[in-house]
Amino acid sequence: MKVTIKEWNAVAAWRWDMPDDDVCGICRNPYDSTCSKCKFPGDECPLLLGECNHSFHMHCIFSWLRQESSQEKCPMCRQPFKSKSQEAPAEADAQTQTQQPETSPL
């Protein structure tokens, strides 16, 4: 008998490459979930890794940093927060904004 596979529809689960069961230090939601404002995880609610190695939902850390009282410091370690990624945070934000409407199925 010879078996020829014509078609293979697989299923895979994605996760952020973060330690298991860890949560965003600001909204307390798991990284794999969304910030409290978003509906869809992943592209639309990405994570942001700081130079201090603390990471948050991007939306969470942005709104934290916008507050006067935060003094632009990481809420976990109180060091000045700087994004580790090459992408400028503002750019990433803009990208999500434009992506949102067309990808929503409903």
Binding site: V3, E7, D21
Partner: protein, 902 residues
């Protein structure tokens, strides 16, 4: 003694004044006339002698009573003709003259009345007694009554004639004389007096008549003939008395005349009184009942209209005229027969009809909407006082008896509930009744664990789907009625949003003053009722599990029904809790796009790179199409020398990428997939991670599906929608490197590679259960057959193994059952089982450190402290502790407290 008196007395003995002697035949009573007293003329008043008056009165009495006495034979007519002067005088004397009865004396009128009574007792009563002695049979009822009436009328005339001819004229004359000197007014008064005498006499006779008949029997018989007449007049074919109506049409005129003649006749002889009226009322009652049960008032299943108007017309034009006619004949006082108003009769009839309909309401609901006519009948009935209460309590009993029991499938209960919603919406658009009767159904459905699944799966099924149609049996898992609801356009989206508040646990039907349209939008909404059976959160959890499973199996890559369902649920329940469902749906829709992007990044995901793929225990990847083994012994026309399908270009790997956090816990058995797939997965993974930074993929090989082509020595077959483990197992039945020559030996024709379960488990690192399932599937498809227990071989040639078709059929059945039990989502029990070891050691540790603990405390600690939480309840925990007790680890100390076994 006066001679004349003596002579008179000797010939006509003076009657005793006791009135027990009917005629003057007794011995003369001389007691009143003392010897030697003077005897005056008959009409001379003598102040000197009361004794004289007595004698005179006795004489006159004798004359009068002799004249008036009744002959023995009532039939013997008018024997008595002319009054002689004597008689004339005597009557005058006794009735209006000086001999009129005074204090203590008996009057002639009374005597005559008594005479009639005695006569009746002697000569008439015995015959009537005989007639009424026994229960009157239905078929003789008319005759018995007719004869009774005739007899009584005859004797009544017989008694009345002397009274009218010989007594009344004197009274009348007297009255007229008086009026000469008196006013108009007093004349009337005297004539009334005269009539009163006549009336009194008749009343006495009537009392005698009535007294001689057994009242209950008479009433029953009369009632019967009235009922009979009614049935004949209205042509009722099914009667309460069981009488078969004659097949030849009767003249209603005749029936009516006979009835009126009899009733009038009975009334004339005084039998139209209370007794007759009761009989009449009873008959009318039965008649109404019979009409309502008759074919005239059967539910209108065809034109689906209410028959209440027919009922009203009949009451007005048929029933009431009959009642009036009968009442007139019996000279009933209108107030004696209740009710007298047309409207009252109509309401009474409607109440009867309504109760009859209520008794069958469950059946009408089941046959909605063919039963629309019956529901419309009930709608009229509900306007009556107390009707709503009666309907709800009675129907609730029917529901608990016929619907809410373990024998009814959930699908059936749901279907009936939907019919109830629809029928009751017609019945009572305000929804008050529905709310009342549906409460126990909703509670019951909530308790059944398959309710939500059936509702959601049905909403996701196209009712027009021909393949699906067989699934809509009431014993099945899908409800056609629910599926049909999805086809309806969404109604009043904004309105539904405004109106409905999920969090309102005390949902109430709309107020009575709401406008009809306002109410309609909501009450008619079957889906609304179905989705609100549960608390919102419970329902959405259930929805998440079912939708997840459904999305992974879905064949329609546009996901139209799923999108629509979610939209519909959002309209009704609001979208704040639906994030998980929306993410899942978005995942499957997005996956198409991601697949496109991944494939576009290079044409690498088709197996050009097969050469470099690692050898896996699952066997080598497909190589260049293998040259067919020489098959010299097989005639070439039987074996296709080349595969019928042109060699495929290799598989394409498509993936559904799930945001696992939002999906229910999915099955994740691990095993090795064919090497070429493994290679494709690796490539896919690396490209995905390149595109979507910081993210990693985990393949869930227990999910997904595949299509393969199997080429045998004698045939080529294609299989679609296989599970990955089915493909992996089939794949493992290909020759391994070096194996081909050995297996392809010329010894056995039609036999291919043979493997046993243990080998397969080893090669595929697959759970034994899955291996068995896959093997059963392939045996069912006549691809494999068992050569010994747990050992299977490929059927390379079908003809050599036809004898195994039974085994294949059995295996196919088994495989189907297993497939039906397979879901993509893990059950709670599976989860508990999987983590049992973790939980067990946690419990042992805790009880060792902290001593004995109650279950609730253990539960709380586990929920807080166990890695990944403890998503179970106290019941599951008790089950787990029970298992541990069985293993000798813990011991129950009673009162829900557990400790370490020492």
């Amino acid at each position: 003694m006066d001679h004349a008196t003596l002579v008179f007395a000797s010939v006509f003995p003076v009657p005793s004044l006791s009135h027990t002697t009917p005629t003057p035949v007794a011995t003369p009573d001389l007691g009143h006339t003392a010897p030697g007293s003077s005897f005056g003329g008959p009409f001379i008043g003598n102040a000197g002698g009361a004794q004289h008056r007595a004698v005179k009165r006795t004489q006159a009495w004798s004359t009068a009573t002799r004249f008036l006495s009744l002959p023995n034979n009532p039939g013997s007519g008018t024997r008595r003709s002319q009054r002689s002067a004597d008689v004339e005088g005597a009557l005058y004397y006794l009735l209006v003259g000086e001999g009129k009865s005074e204090e203590g004396e008996k009057g002639l009128l009374e005597w005559y009345t008594n005479e009639a009574r005695l006569h009746f007792a002697s000569f008439v009563k015995p015959a009537l007694k005989e007639l009424w002695e026994k229960e009157v049979e239905l078929r003789t009822a008319w005759d018995v009554l007719d004869e009774t009436q005739r007899t009584l009328e005859q004797v009544q005339n017989f008694y009345l004639q002397p009274f009218n001819d010989h007594i009344l004229p004197f009274l009348h004359q007297d009255a007229t004389n008086k009026t000469i000197r008196a006013s108009q007014l007093s004349q009337t008064a005297d004539i009334e007096l005269m009539d009163a005498a006549s009336w009194k006499f008749e009343r006495h006779i009537h009392a005698v008549f009535a007294h001689c008949l057994p009242p209950k029997r008479f009433s029953k018989t009369l009632s019967y003939i009235l009922y009979d007449a009614g049935c004949r007049l209205f042509r009722f074919y099914v009667r309460q008395d069981g009488v078969q109506p004659s097949t030849t049409p009767e003249s209603t005129r005749e029936v009516r005349d006979r009835m009126t003649a009899l009733l009038s006749g009975l009334e004339r002889v005084g039998l139209g009184g209370n007794n007759a009226q009761r009989a009449f009322a009873h008959a009318m009652n039965q008649l109404l009942e019979t009409f309502i049960a008759s074919h005239y008032l059967k539910v209108d299943w065809f034109s689906k209209r209410s028959i209440v108007p027919d009922l009203r017309v009949w009451v007005k034009d048929g029933f009431c005229p009959l009642v009036e006619l009968a009442m007139e004949c019996l000279r009933c006082d209108a107030s004696d027969v209740q009710p007298t108003e047309l409207k009252q009769w109509q309401e009474m009839a409607l109440a009867r009809l309504g109760r009859g309909r209520v008794a069958n309401l469950f059946d009408f609901v089941i046959h909605w909407d063919r039963s629309l006519g019956a529901i419309l009948d009930l709608k009229d009935y509900l306007k009556l006082d107390g009707a709503k209460q009666y309907l709800t309590s009675n129907f609730s009993q029917q529901i608990s008896r016929r619907l809410l029991h373990p024998g009814a499938t959930t699908t059936y209960i749901l279907n009936v509930y939907i019919s109830i919603i629809r029928a009751f919406h017609k019945l009572d658009p305000k929804g008050v009744l529905l709310e009342r009767v549906a409460r126990p159904i909703r509670r019951y459905l909530k308790e059944r664990e398959d309710t939500a699944r059936i509702i959601i799966s049905s909403l996701l099924t196209d009712p027009d789907d021909e393949v699906g149609n067989t699934k809509f049996a009431s014993s099945g898992e899908l409800s056609y009625e629910i599926a049909m609801e999805m086809k309806k356009p969404f109604a009043n989206r904004e309105e539904a949003d405004e109106e409905f508040n999920w969090n309102d646990l005390n949902w109430q039907p709309l107020p009575n003053d709401a406008s009809p349209d306002y109410k309609k939008s909501k009450v008619e909404d079957v889906i609304h009722f179905l989705l609100t059976i549960w608390d919102k959160e419970d329902f959405i959890n259930e929805l998440k599990n079912i939708l997840g499973d459904h999305l992974l199996r879905c064949q329609d890559l546009e996901y139209e029904k799923e999108i629509r369902l979610l939209e519909l649920i959002k309209v009704r329940l609001g979208d704040e809790k639906l994030q998980a469902c929306e993410v899942m749906l978005r995942d499957v829709l997005e996956s198409k796009r991601i697949n496109g992007t991944i494939h576009a990044t290079g044409d690498v995901l088709t197996p050009e790179d097969q050469g470099q793929q690692p050898e896996t225990p699952a066997g080598p990847g497909p190589r260049q199409p293998r040259p067919h083994r020489p098959t010299s012994s097989v005639p070439s026309h039987l074996t296709p020398s080349t595969p019928i399908l042109k060699p495929p270009e290799g598989p394409t790997l498509n993936a559904q990428i799930l945001s696992s956090f939002f999906w229910p816990i999915l099955r994740d058995e691990e095993f090795r997939v064919p090497a070429q797939i493994e290679a494709l997965q690796k490539e896919y993974e690396s490209r995905f991670e390149r595109i979507k930074g910081m993210r990693k993929l985990r393949w869930m090989n227990a999910l997904g599906d595949s299509t393969i082509i199997l080429e045998f020595e004698d045939r080529t077959e294609e299989f679609e929608h296989l599970t990955p483990w089915q493909v992996s197992v089939a794949y493992a039945f290909q020759p391994q490197p070096g194996e081909e020559r050995a297996a392809g030996g010329k010894g056995k024709k039609g036999e291919g590679i043979t493997r046993n379960v243990e080998q397969l488990e080893e090669m595929l690192q697959m759970d034994e259960g899955l291996v068995h399932q896959a093997l059963a599937y392939w045996v069912g498809k006549s691809v494999l057959r068992a050569v010994s227990p747990d050992t299977y071989t490929v059927i390379e040639r079908l003809d050599s193994s036809t004898k195994d078709s039974d085994a294949a059929a059995a295996a196919q059945e088994l495989a189907e059952v297993q497939a039906a039990q397979t879901t993509t989502v893990k059950s709670q029990a599976d989860l508990l089982n999987e983590k049992k070891d973790v939980y067990t050691s946690f419990i042992v540790g805790m009880l060792t450190n902290q001593g004995n603990l109650p279950v609730m405390r253990i539960l709380m600690m586990m929920r807080m402290l166990v890695q990944g939480g403890f998503p179970f309840g106290a019941e599951e925990l008790r089950g787990l502790l029970g298992d541990m007790e069985g293993d000798g680890k813990v011991v129950s100390l009673g009162a829900d407290v557990w400790g370490i076994r020492k």
